[in-house]
Symmetry: C2
Subunit: 398 residues, 2 copies
């Protein structure tokens, strides 16, 4: 499946939750499959922290051939014949405001100054993103969505869709998500932000003006993130206490050297495999991700809390939803644990909503939502075939 991103320009100002106004902005999006004549088969996919509109398919090179390793981030779930089958559904991926992957964000030019927005880009919330996504769907002539789907922060947007636009969402698929962040989640975000903000190359968020990038801070932020996306078990299985120099020497057949290198007795060199892996992840990330975007997106995560205006009562907060729901969680996900998904399930049942819930016994931690665990994918496939594909009359309470 060869895909091409598109861009829509919005000239009407967007008032954000903070009160700030974005005078004009662009949103980049991709679509897969074909919108039917009734415009009733649209499925919106919301992305998480380190992702974009490029949800599925591959990009083409100059000769129209698929570029290697250009698959979208949920390509194992979405495509022809896949659990979310693009032969049946018209799937839309939209890059969120504030991103560094195409839609208007801190690296773009602030029309008021003629310079990059940098730290002056206004804080955006989950609700703001959903609002902007709805405007884009208006432009595409899509008034109602067969389903909204998202994992992690994308799941928060999915939940928010059912509250902000209850009449426009028939089904909501919320994977590895939560009704808000715990104090521990906020704490991890805060440490990552402090690492970025206290990097001397950050320059108050205006590093582009200074011709620098706060790569040190981004590296640390990404390393922290990576630890929390994996489970302790899968880390032990993948890396354990393996010593990198020893492994390398052993692979080269030099066992004497391997033994000599068992421990290097240093504090700054890579000694354990897990260190090498984390440094590599941090280095890669710091080359392509924008620091101000990282700050904005983690803050949107911190803020999200639909129960806030209902004295913390999630059941009262979710009373506005009209969609049918599928929630999926993963047993070893300690960042968005099954208990958090169950809170949402309970609050929806309190409101007599139709809810399906799958708790998948997977070893991969939070990352599991991006992997192709067969039970997880079977649950999503079955939900789309049996529930989302049902005729509107029997499938929708709206």
């Amino acid at each position: 499946m060869i895909v091409t991103p598109q861009t829509l320009l919005f000239d009407t100002p967007l008032t954000l939750q903070s009160g700030a106004v974005l005078p004009r902005y662009e949103l980049v999006y991709e679509t897969y499959g074909t919108l039917n004549a009734e415009r009733s088969n649209a499925v919106l996919v919301c992305h998480a922290l380190n992702a974009s509109h490029h949800v599925a398919g591959r990009y083409a090179d100059a000769n129209g051939q698929p570029l290697p390793r250009s698959e979208g981030w949920w390509d194992n779930l979405i495509g022809p014949g896949k659990p979310i089958d693009t032969q049946r559904w018209f799937v839309i991926g939209i890059n969120n405001l504030g991103s560094c992957f195409g839609s208007t964000g801190p690296t773009h030019v602030n029309p008021a100054t003629g310079e990059a927005w940098g730290a002056d880009f206004p804080v955006v919330t989950v609700e703001d993103w959903v609002h902007a996504q709805a405007r884009l769907l208006d432009q595409l002539g899509i008034s109602a969505l067969a389903a909204v789907v998202g994992g992690s922060l994308g799941g928060m947007q999915t939940l928010s869709w059912t509250l902000q636009y209850p009449q426009r969402v028939r089904h909501a698929v919320v994977v590895a998500s939560a009704p808000n962040l715990t104090a521990e989640n906020i704490a991890f975000n805060e440490v990552a932000r402090r690492a970025i903000v206290t990097d001397p190359d950050f320059h108050g968020g205006h590093y582009l003006r200074h011709g620098t990038l706060p790569r040190r801070g981004l590296r640390i932020a990404r390393m922290i993130g990576h630890i929390t996306y994996l489970s302790d078990d899968v880390m032990n299985e993948k890396f354990g206490r393996q010593l990198k120099p020893l492994n390398e020497a052993a692979q080269a057949g030099d066992l004497d050297e391997a033994v000599r290198l068992a421990y290097r007795y240093t504090t700054q060199d890579v000694e354990f495999q897990i260190e090498s892996y984390l440094r590599h992840q941090g280095d890669k990330f710091s080359e392509y991700f924008d620091a101000n975007t990282y700050l904005l997106i983690t803050r949107a995560l911190d803020y999200f809390d639909p129960a806030r205006h209902h004295d913390g009562n999630l059941s009262a907060a979710l009373a506005a939803a009209r969609a049918q729901f599928l929630l999926v969680s993963f047993t070893t996900d300690w960042r968005f644990s099954p208990a958090r998904s169950r809170e949402v399930v309970k609050a929806l049942l309190d409101n007599r909503r139709d809810v399906s819930y799958a708790e998948i016994d997977a070893p991969h931690g939070h990352d599991a939502f991006l992997l192709d665990d067969p039970r997880y994918h079977a649950a999503v496939r079955a939900y789309f075939e049996r529930q989302v594909a049902q005729p509107l009359a029997s499938g929708n309470r709206a």
Copy 2:
């Protein structure tokens, strides 16, 4: 209980596990209680990352009055009438090599250069610390210990004592510890170290020569540490999703302002209480802790792995131990989980050692080992009264 630290100078070189030799060094220590005539009531307490020889009691001001807030770090556990009763036991706290609290470490002068050791201070291991502690006990004329006690990294030293000097330890009390670090533990240490090492003020570990201190890195390291010392539950209970500016305005009785400040919509200001707490902890720590010491101690944690020379077989590794054991773990400790203590219990039982094990249902995470949970303290008290106080003949297999 007023206490005074003492210092012992060692002029005999100490060969470290890495092969490096420390030509001469000082160890700072404190003692509480009185050594009996048989020299049989000595209890050694080993300290963890952010602690020292100052285990119990208080320091005196110029008038001999106790200084406020000068209590030792385990003062709730150790003292007259306390679970480890200094009316009966002669308790010894020793500051480890490489520390920044008095014993020879990276901030001390390297005799070879006349300058501070800095990053050139040799890497020390748990085994090196135990070796140095044993030398100090030699000087005090103590050939056998009634007990060695330690929590966390201190528990690793305790375990190591029973393997390096099996004939010198009658009882080992290992609290909230593990037979080695998991990959996840090493990963958190590595992120903390990268934050320090990539701080531009680190200067390859020779910041003292440059008149700087890598405070930014230390702050991040401490924030990461703090998250992992607490449980998710206790963080939620203490901080939840409370907004700091809102709380402050509400406390000042200004509810309109409180509502206005509900969210500030910033990425760098403190908005949530947990952020304020973490920043404060990081700031405090960066004022008194030495960065090279942080690197050395976390590396000692990473390295510790007595099963390493036994193909990962912990039972084989612990076969050398002759002591009786008490292990204590805390249900919400996700850094040194009960499962890790149970591994030690199982390995000791495989060797038919006498083992007591208490798994305390405490909400406080890893930090619980420093708090005065009554069930935990009762278990330690009972063990000392019933087991350690037993006559040597019935209590020791050595």
